[in-house]
């Protein structure tokens, strides 16, 4: 196991009755990185975080957190981390300010100056009882409490759900700042733009298993670039090229997707036909994501649609 990893999880299994919430999950988060943890609802993101927090017990597999065992060393480890739950419920009779202080003190640290700055940035009124807060404001309470700590690891479970776009931007600035100060962040999310903007590395999970992990550049390499080209003459022989998918030839206009390995071949094939314009779009995280989450049903539907389109043409 890598000593520099803040979090290392391998083969993690957790079942609830007959449901296998985690089914051999692997995850490694290096110290000092912002790691995106992507997956659709119910993929097992929150379950993973709860195992890492020692709230629930793993059935099998390995999980290490900051060099300790998340179940046995929970209390000591929690002094070094801060957590923002996905669904923030607070004590209705306490004010936001009281909850922030309480959580900070129970963790062991709270930077007063930073608390004040964050309250201002997030435009949160700390004197209001939490029963009167909206979902977004409850989220802010948990965020301020976590960000105002001096924890070396932040575990954030869908931290921007309920925040407005302005506050989302504020949150991104805060995470950037955390990265600069060398803190490790595990950011669970299903908001792709957020992960794309913030994360050094990404792990995508599906049905309790990691299906992809690496830097965004690595992951992009694994996927296809979309190409749109206007040519001088009608092309031939494109369909026979390896690595070319979703090919649409409309006279002199070509649209297709191409694997990273096939890019070179495609371009050299196109050049003889006289390239007038060429747009290439790197794969977005969304493409990556969709590739992994397309269900069989969706695939079948797409095939059907393509078929119908072919007949019509």
């Amino acid at each position: 196991m890598n000593g520099k990893d803040a979090i290392s999880v391998s083969g993690l299994v957790k079942t609830f009755g007959k449901t296998r919430a985690l089914d051999g999950l692997d995850l490694s988060v290096r110290s000092g990185e912002v790691h995106g943890f992507l997956g659709p609802n119910g993929a097992g993101k929150s379950t993973t975080l709860r195992v890492l927090l020692g709230l629930i017990r793993k059935d099998s597999g390995e999980a290490r957190l900051l060099g300790g065992d998340p179940w046995h060393d929970a209390v000591a480890l929690h002094r070094r981390l801060a957590y923002v739950p996905g669904d923030v419920t607070l004590w209705p009779g306490l004010t936001g300010g009281e909850v922030i202080d309480l959580l900070g003190r129970m963790r062991g640290s709270l930077d007063k100056g930073r608390r004040a700055d964050l309250l201002e940035c997030f435009e949160l009124d700390p004197t209001k009882k939490t029963r009167t807060y909206s979902k977004g404001n409850r989220q802010k309470v948990a965020l301020v409490a976590a960000l105002a700590s001096d924890a070396e690891l932040l575990l954030l479970d869908e931290p921007t759900s309920g925040l407005d776009p302005l506050m989302e931007a504020t949150f991104r600035e805060c995470v950037e700042e955390e990265r600069r100060s060398g803190r490790t962040v595990l950011l669970s999310s299903h908001i792709l733009s957020e992960v794309e903007a913030l994360c050094d590395r990404v792990t995508i999970i599906r049905e309790g298993r990691a299906v992809e992990s690496g830097t965004l550049a690595d992951l992009r390499h694994l996927t296809r670039t979309s190409i749109v080209a206007e040519l001088a003459r009608e092309p031939v022989g494109l369909a026979e090229l390896s690595g070319v998918h979703d090919l649409h030839v409309d006279g002199k206009r070509v649209r297709c997707q191409v694997d990273a390995a096939g890019l070179d071949g495609l371009l050299s094939h196109l050049t003889p036909f006289g390239v007038r314009s060429l747009t290439s779009q790197p794969p977005t995280l969304e493409d990556l994501f969709l590739r992994h989450y397309e269900t069989e049903a969706q695939k079948a539907e797409e095939v059907g649609r393509a078929h119908r389109a072919g007949v019509a043409r």
């Binding site: 609830f16 009755g17 709860r50 927090l53 020692g54 709230l55 629930i56 017990r57 929970a74 209390v75 000591a76 929690h78 002094r79 957590y83 739950p85 669904d87 923030v88 419920t89 607070l90 004590w91 209705p92 009779g93 306490l94 004010t95 300010g97 009281e98 909850v99 922030i100 202080d101 309480l102 959580l103 003190r105 129970m106 963790r107 062991g108 009124d125 700390p126 004197t127 209001k128 009882k129 029963r131 009167t132 948990a142 409490a145």
Partner: protein
């Protein structure tokens, strides 16, 4: 008149639409709980009638039994004055305090479907559908009042089938039903005023307790008739009907009046206020936490202090009243030459007072157990609501978190019983001019209940750690079983083995009995083992509980 009708129609236009659908929703959600309390309470009267017949088959036996017991302050406090000695009359008399549970079930049911729903945010979801503003309130009242009507009907039918007079049985069933209505209506009004369901429940239960205390104060120390005090409480009104005797039907008018007033209040408040709000506007609070709010114990104090203070005041008031009326009750029996033999058999006038205090404190012990179980089960509430998660994700061990709320369960019960004992001891001591002698005796009668209360706390704690899903239902069921055993175990002629299941059965009857160390030590030991088992179980399980 026409203008009024028009204004009314305008104010409530469409306010009730969707009530039918909500009634079905409530019935679906309560399909277990509702039949449970309706059936168990409605079949109790015929069971009591049967044991009364077994114990006192002839009119002469019933007459002498009633004459003796209703001259003692203990029985006057517990069941009030009796009017008549027919089998029906003494059955109704013996159940004079039991109707408390009809009121309790009714008020809990109304608050569960009004303010609790609103606080949980589910009311908002429903409010966005084609649902009238008053529909949730009306639906909750309809179901609760319907349940009470069913309860009364079953009780009346079973008593008639047992062979008791028809008119009396109908009046009996009706009196229980309208008693439930009165507290359902009261709870509906209270639920409009507070922001939290917990506060609404607390206030309604306090008013129920006050009603009972007023009835007790109206009975103890009065020779033939209760005093005017008992006209102030629905418990007293049931007495004044003279069930199976005179049958003063007009007394039901008082219930009708109370129900009308409280329901109108509730509807008027509900029509004016914003969803989610109470009567008082929310004030801003502290921007920063005070110094002591820094760990789970501080948090538990912050969460529980309000209810602990209110309960303590309630116990002190109750203790003061019950202690204050004791001497008057003893005087009545002492001054009655006809009862000289009885007084002698009961251990003289000090023996009568001792029996009274043992009975009263046993009752308060059960109530204190209710507080303590509620305080312990806060743990489960914190867990299911997700509020335990941020605490346990901080540097707080599970044991420390659990211990924080259990501290309030264990020490809170001691504070309550202490407050009641001190107030009762002072009030009684002042009335006998012997504070030095009586104070300690009465206080000891209160505090001796503690180990039994702690056993019930232990049951809740053990369930929370080992079988968390059952913690709330079985925890409360354990208390209900103790109440049943303590209040009806002997008249229902339950076997000794069953009677001994209640921890309260092992509490020495202070102040008359000697303090027996052995049972108390056993009770403390059992409760410690239960709490330890709960903490160990909590250490091993998932939070929130899974599977």
């Amino acid at each position: 008149m026409k203008a009024f009708a028009k204004a009314f129609a305008k104010a409530f236009a469409g306010a009730f639409s969707g009530t039918g659908a909500l009634v079905r929703l409530i019935l679906r959600r309560d399909r277990v709980v509702l039949p449970l309390w309706v059936l168990s309470l409605s079949l109790l009267p015929v069971a009591i009638a049967n044991t009364m017949y077994d114990l006192y088959p002839t009119a002469a036996e019933r007459q002498s039994y009633i004459d003796i017991v209703t001259s003692t302050p203990t029985f006057l406090a517990l069941y009030g004055h009796a009017f008549g000695h027919s089998l029906g009359a003494i059955t109704a008399w013996r159940l004079g305090g039991t109707v408390l549970f009809v009121g309790l079930a009714s008020l809990l049911s109304v608050i569960r479907h009004t303010r609790a729903e609103e606080e949980a945010g589910r009311r908002e979801l429903l409010g966005a559908t084609a649902l009238g503003r008053q529909a949730p309130l009306i639906a909750a009242l309809l179901v609760t009042c319907g349940a009470n009507l069913a309860l009364g009907a079953i009780a009346a039918a079973s008593l008639i089938a047992y062979g008791l007079p028809v008119a009396g049985s109908v009046a009996f069933g009706l009196s229980w039903a309208v008693f439930g209505w009165a507290f359902a209506a009261l709870a509906a009004a209270v639920a409009q005023m507070t922001e939290g369901a917990r506060a609404a429940r607390g206030i309604s239960i306090a008013l129920l307790g006050l009603s009972l205390a007023l009835r007790m104060a109206g009975d103890v120390g009065q020779e033939d008739e209760p005093s005017w005090l008992s006209w102030l409480t629905p418990f007293g009104w049931i007495q004044h009907i003279h069930l199976y005797g005179e049958q003063r039907w007009w007394v039901f008018g008082l219930f009708a009046g109370v129900v009308a007033v409280f329901v109108s209040c509730a509807l008027a408040l509900c029509a004016r206020r914003d969803l989610g709000s109470g009567l008082l506007p929310t004030r801003p609070g502290r921007a920063e936490a005070v110094g002591w709010l820094r760990g789970p114990l501080g948090l538990a104090w912050r969460l529980q202090r309000g209810s602990l203070i209110a309960w303590t005041l309630g116990f002190a008031a109750l203790g003061g009243i019950l202690g204050g009326i004791a001497e008057g009750g003893v005087e009545v029996i002492r001054d009655n030459p006809k009862l000289e033999v009885v007084v002698g058999r009961l251990g003289g006038s000090s023996g009568i007072a001792d029996t009274y205090f043992a009975a009263i404190m046993g009752l308060l012990g059960l109530v204190a157990a209710g507080y303590a179980i509620g305080a312990a089960l806060r743990l489960r509430g914190e867990e299911t609501s997700g509020r335990a998660e941020p605490v346990l994700a901080a540097s707080v061990s599970r044991q420390r978190w659990a211990a924080s709320h259990l501290t309030f369960a264990i020490l809170g019960a001691a504070i309550l019983l202490g407050a009641a004992g001190i107030a009762a001891g002072l009030a009684y001591g002042l009335s006998t001019d012997d504070v030095g002698g009586d104070f300690g005796r009465v206080l000891s009668a209160a505090l001796v209940q503690l180990p039994a209360v702690w056993v019930l706390v232990g049951v809740s704690a053990a369930l929370f750690g080992l079988l968390p899903r059952l913690a709330a239902s079985v925890g409360w069921a354990a208390l209900a079983a103790c109440v049943l055993i303590e209040e009806f175990g002997r008249p229902l002629q339950l076997s000794k083995g069953v009677l001994d299941l209640s921890p309260f059965a092992h509490v020495p009857k202070l102040p008359a009995d000697d303090v027996l160390a052995a049972p108390l030590v056993w009770l403390v030991l059992i409760s410690s083992v239960l709490v330890a088992a709960g903490l160990l179980g909590l250490r091993r399980r998932d939070v929130p509980a899974s599977g």
